[in-house]
Amino acid sequence: MLRKGFLILLIVALGVMLAACAGETSAPAGDSAATGDSAGEAAGDGGQMATIGFTASLTGKLNVESTRQTNGLNLWMKQVNDAGGVALDGGAVQFQSTFYDDESNQDRVQELYTRLATEDGANFLISPYSSGLTAASSVIAEQYEKVMITTGAASDSNYTQGYTLVYQAYTPASKYLTGAVDMIAANSPDLKKLAIVHENDKFSTDVSTAAEEYALEQGFEVVLFEGYDSGTTDFAPIINKVEQAGPDAILGGGHFQDGSTFARQLAEKGVATEYLVLLVAPPEPTFAELGDAAIAVAGPSQWEPQAAYTAEAAEAGGMEWYGPTGEEFVSAYEDEYGEEPSYHAAGGYTAGLVLQAAIEKAGSLETAAVKEALDGLDILTFFGHIKFDTSEEAHGLQVGHEMVYIQWQKNDAGDLVKEIVWPAEAKTAEALHPVR
């Protein structure tokens, strides 16, 4: 009996030990993460240190966009800390970050955010990239009462789930393509037939459904509304269907790859249309690699380097101007990373900026105070207008920020360049049409 008792004890001990090991290591954190900003380490002179926690897709299918977003955030943190931090009543506060690799995988996000919120003692959270991952992390932020600024997470639905501490930096998905409808109505009032072809994922479906609804309200006829599976590389059947429907304009798309493939295959098949407006892909600089197939393709962007939001405009609109100008941001980013910032990078920077503004206004790192400050925030930044919905139904939803529409055009030298073609007050060129 004694021997048996001993054996039981041994097995329990073994189990707990194994569990403990797992606890330590199965989060990919450990060494790969927790690279607190080096400038932040020096803030030992009575100042406070605030920790910002997030996950990023260092690996996995979303790693490109996610990395840019992280770059933007890190740039913001470096600038704040170099400037001595944010002045609060109890002295300046500086920032450090703790982050983990989420592998673009929903299974791990909750585990990692829980770790950030509890063990790592993060004061604030930033969302992962993409709406799906953000939805999973929002539950944790709310549960552990941490303010989370979301960026790269456009779906509206995440802000109608009763969260009170989650704030969206991006323009929500429902507004992505409504501007395109306005643009077509304004430029070519005779066109009535739209085809909406979208990737069958959460974000693109939300965008397209909202766009269809809006287009119908505006008196358009939607002759084709069709989804295609994520990862589609052969658009032949879809393109045949588009040709059969004979629309005046084609709206839709999804993410970079399917969008650019769709544009390429449309060109190869010589499909004629007045307007082609696609999500996500066109604003990416690499879209230009399509060559002639890129000409006249338009797309909504959260932000473009040319977008010139100014302190004057803020004053005119009755808003507070906050943060660097667009030019300052672009040059700082280029110095740091050697490439032009994409809107994902700007979004990452803005997430930090919004947090900074709220902390300054609150004069505290306390969740309740920062939440109150965020609720009342109404600022204009280089990224655009930032203001949040404070209603119970859609708390935290971005209501200030507007999309700009870019279009690839050939300049006089024959190079492909992005021009802003909508909204009217921001445009740098007239929209080119027809596409073919």
Binding site: A22, D107, Q110
Partner: protein, 322 residues
Amino acid sequence: MKKWLQPGLWIPLLLVAAFAAYPAITGSASARETMFTMIMSIGLASSLNILLGYTGYVSFGHIVFFGLGGYLGFWAIDELGWHLAPAVLLGGVTAGLLALLLGLAILRLRGAYFALATIGVNEAMKSLVMNLPFLGAATGMELNFSVYKSYGGPATALWMVYWSLAAIVLIITVVSYAVKKSKFGLGLMAIREDEDAAGIMGVVSSRAKTWAYVLSAVFPGMIGVLFFFKNGIIEPGSAFRLNLSIELLVMVMLGGAGTVLGPILGGAFYQRLRGLLLTSDLFKNIQLAVAGLLLLLIVLFIPSGAVGWLRERSDRLRRVLE
């Protein structure tokens, strides 16, 4: 009965209980999340083992039960306002029913044909759900945060989900042992060794296989509801993830197919190994390749897995380890 006191049962039970209790001892929410993943893997692998290990049918798409059960339970909570408990039952029943229907059909297929069919079922179900508006189609569904409040706030809710999972996995362990030691289980193992000979000996293989399939499907269906309730969001891609399905196979093989203890050790070891490889600078980028190499070595040299290997070493171990 005396057999309930056998080490073959209490060793795995204690091991699972020890894993489950670890976050409670430390009281750490982040340990809880880590262990959730591990215990979930153990539960799913043990369920799969009833079909794969005892009955000898390779299911590549077993995750379909996790996904479908999760979807139906989630829908009941979100749309019908059900409490978690009946929703978990609904998930289990749905998965069981699907297995029953499938069992009558595809279990007639043997070997590779069955394995292929299970992949087909998973993919078909995934594409089907993507076309069903009431399940949120491609966008999936999200839970309103207020749902957690009715369970005493989100913190309590998440601990409750964790303990429910632990309880279910303990039940799976008991069921797995009970099946192995029962007449039913003996019939399954006879089917695994030689289905035709088993039939000639009087084992009604079509019926036995179907019940094994149902049994191995019910628990993943229940676990699915818990997992997605905790996640607050469900999407076709995360519900019917073929990769996870195949990882489960690897876990069962690592630990030893057809043993009670094997899937438990396999699940724990696999998750731990993944963690180790992911954090190691050397292997971080090629962790999948290292895992693959390990799998290959096991398949080639220790096909009966860790527990099977130990059992082959000595008669004494064979009496202790099931």
